[in-house]
Point group: C2
Chain length 340, copies 2
């Protein structure tokens, strides 16, 4: 395939070398061979990774080594864009993002809470926006979910609507095909009692459903006055197995999570996420109740592990062509594949 | 539904009061009641329309009258945005678009050839881009097809791709449910001999398939070295009827059109459009052959007449938030419904 070359390869630093970060680095090295990007650095604090060559960790060809001092590395390699994949919660990664911004790098982050931070963290959002503007860079949170399957696609499905009353999104994921941390995150193998304990404690289940509702609402300028979230266990009816877990009948094999946005008592947005080992018919579905009615189905579903990497990498040209500041997926150009 | 109000209603002029233009005016008046836009003018050269009040033509409530002098009306009402729906071919509408630009108005046009004009009209594209930049406005060609169903959606379907080799889009439309001019445009009721005559003459069939291929290719930065288009009649096997046409067996009831883009002999983009009276299973389908594979289906298809209006109106905030110049749907923010 011949692709039009970019003026210069984009200098990208991978911040976080966990499973997703390593998958990003792998994909970046493939794109490096085509001249679209060049991997200039890799950061992680895990002592077992620091000092290792990236190519020894992910394959491909690169003499970049994993380092742990963010400020020093950022100053030394001066990336155009940082792909940031270290955590789900904004307060705990804020310092890392600010380090990148202050080094003059755009940030594309998989931090779920960053995909729509304005309601939950108004102060922190302002701080990030001001810092990004001061350093003439863009900060964007994205991923497959939140960031694409249950928000960007839902908004794009309204692209030709003259009116819309209600939006429903359903995502069914066979978690058995996904990476181990995801399987652990949804409680694979735990008891229902333990599930309830973790739910009470918080920070459990899929992070980002609330953010997806807020992205859809803000994209349509809908004012919601009520948001309701539910999180229930999916219990195995028979033994289900994945590469990493073996879940007997009666134990938890995943989650059934919903987020509903209402306005004056009327339901406007309903997101349903079912993610469990052995889910039979993986799919993504968006229904727009409006004019014209839209019923969009991704048959077989969007495979999340690969798609997260795609969402992050494909945002590279988007952040480079947007006005400085804190963005969401609704304020950058139409998402599409980059550097094929 | 409560929606967040815009700072001020957008002043919109409707340029062209044919079936699509009138449908736009109707939709604009509905949005005017919610404070998102205000219809400030309506232009058409048809003597049977000039002098008539818009609300007498489209319903709703408005004291705007249809006028025919574009320059005078534009100067008098000073619209922020013009919705332009007068023709398919760029050379014949270029003067109208430049009039709007010179009056300081953004232009959202349904002109199919404007959705990707760079290859077919490089000079004219430069002229429009320079004029738009000189007057600090945006010019954008869009619609349901080209502009959405076979290009924007196809690109959005690659939003999480880490690689993509080939893209296939199929759109099946039951033309019997569409407006009369569209049914006429696809040759409903003519003989196969007449179909072939019109095909030889050119300007017949669906306009914009080539532009959709070019939008997808340019959005992905793919360099195509070959483009092939075919246009075949769909022949009625039995009597098919619409509100406007009655087509006996053996006569033409519509079109089967394809556009294929290749690179070094390998097929990369294939668009298939079947639009005929009585098509049984209307649908839109996008398949991305890549990682992850994506198979997106719009069940029942996107109903075109309404969707064209939606595409044009939903582009209003997009042109207002983009940098001045000539744009395509790939360079403006994620499309989504506006002013619900």
């Amino acid at each position: 395939m011949t692709t039009r070359p970019y003026a210069a390869p984009v200098r990208v630093l991978q911040f976080g070398m966990g499973p997703i970060g390593r998958a990003c680095a792998h994909a970046l090295l493939l794109k490096e061979r085509r001249g679209h990007v060049v991997l200039v650095g890799a950061l992680d604090i895990d002592p077992s990774l620091v000092g290792q060559r990236v190519d020894s960790l992910v394959g491909g060809q690169s003499d970049v080594e994993v380092t742990s001092d963010a400020s020093a590395t950022l100053a030394a390699v001066r990336p155009d864009v940082v792909l940031h994949t270290t955590g789900s919660f904004l307060p705990s990664v804020k310092g890392q993002i600010l380090d990148c911004v202050q080094a003059g790098a755009h940030v594309v982050s998989s931090t779920e809470e960053l995909t729509y931070p304005y309601n939950k963290y108004p102060e922190l959002s302002r701080e990030l926006d001001q810092a990004a503007k001061a350093h003439n860079v863009v900060v964007l949170g994205t991923g497959v979910n939140p960031g694409y399957a249950m928000d960007t696609l839902a908004l794009a499905a309204t692209g030709v609507s003259t009116s819309a009353d209600r939006i429903e999104v359903e995502r069914i994921v066979d978690a058995a095909r996904r990476r181990r941390p995801l399987q652990a995150k949804i409680g694979a193998g735990i008891s229902v009692r333990e599930f309830k304990r973790r739910r009470r404690k918080g920070g459990f289940g899929h992070i980002g459903l609330r953010e997806s509702v807020e992205l859809v609402a803000s994209g349509l300028r809908w004012v919601l006055d009520e948001m309701e979230e539910t999180l229930e266990p999916v219990v195995a009816r028979e033994l289900v197995k994945s590469k990493y877990f073996s879940v007997p009948a009666g134990r938890v094999c995943g989650i059934h999570q919903t987020a509903v946005g209402r306005c004056r008592g009327a339901e406007r947005i309903r997101l349903t996420l079912k993610m469990f080992l052995g889910a039979r018919d993986p799919m993504d579905r968006v229904r727009v109740h409006g004019t014209p009615p839209i019923d969009m189905l991704i048959q077989g579903g969007i495979f999340g592990d690969t798609a997260t990497v795609g969402a992050l990498i494909n945002a590279i040209p988007q952040v480079m062509s947007s006005a400085p500041g804190l963005h969401t997926v609704t304020s950058v150009p139409l998402p599409r594949a980059f550097g094929l």
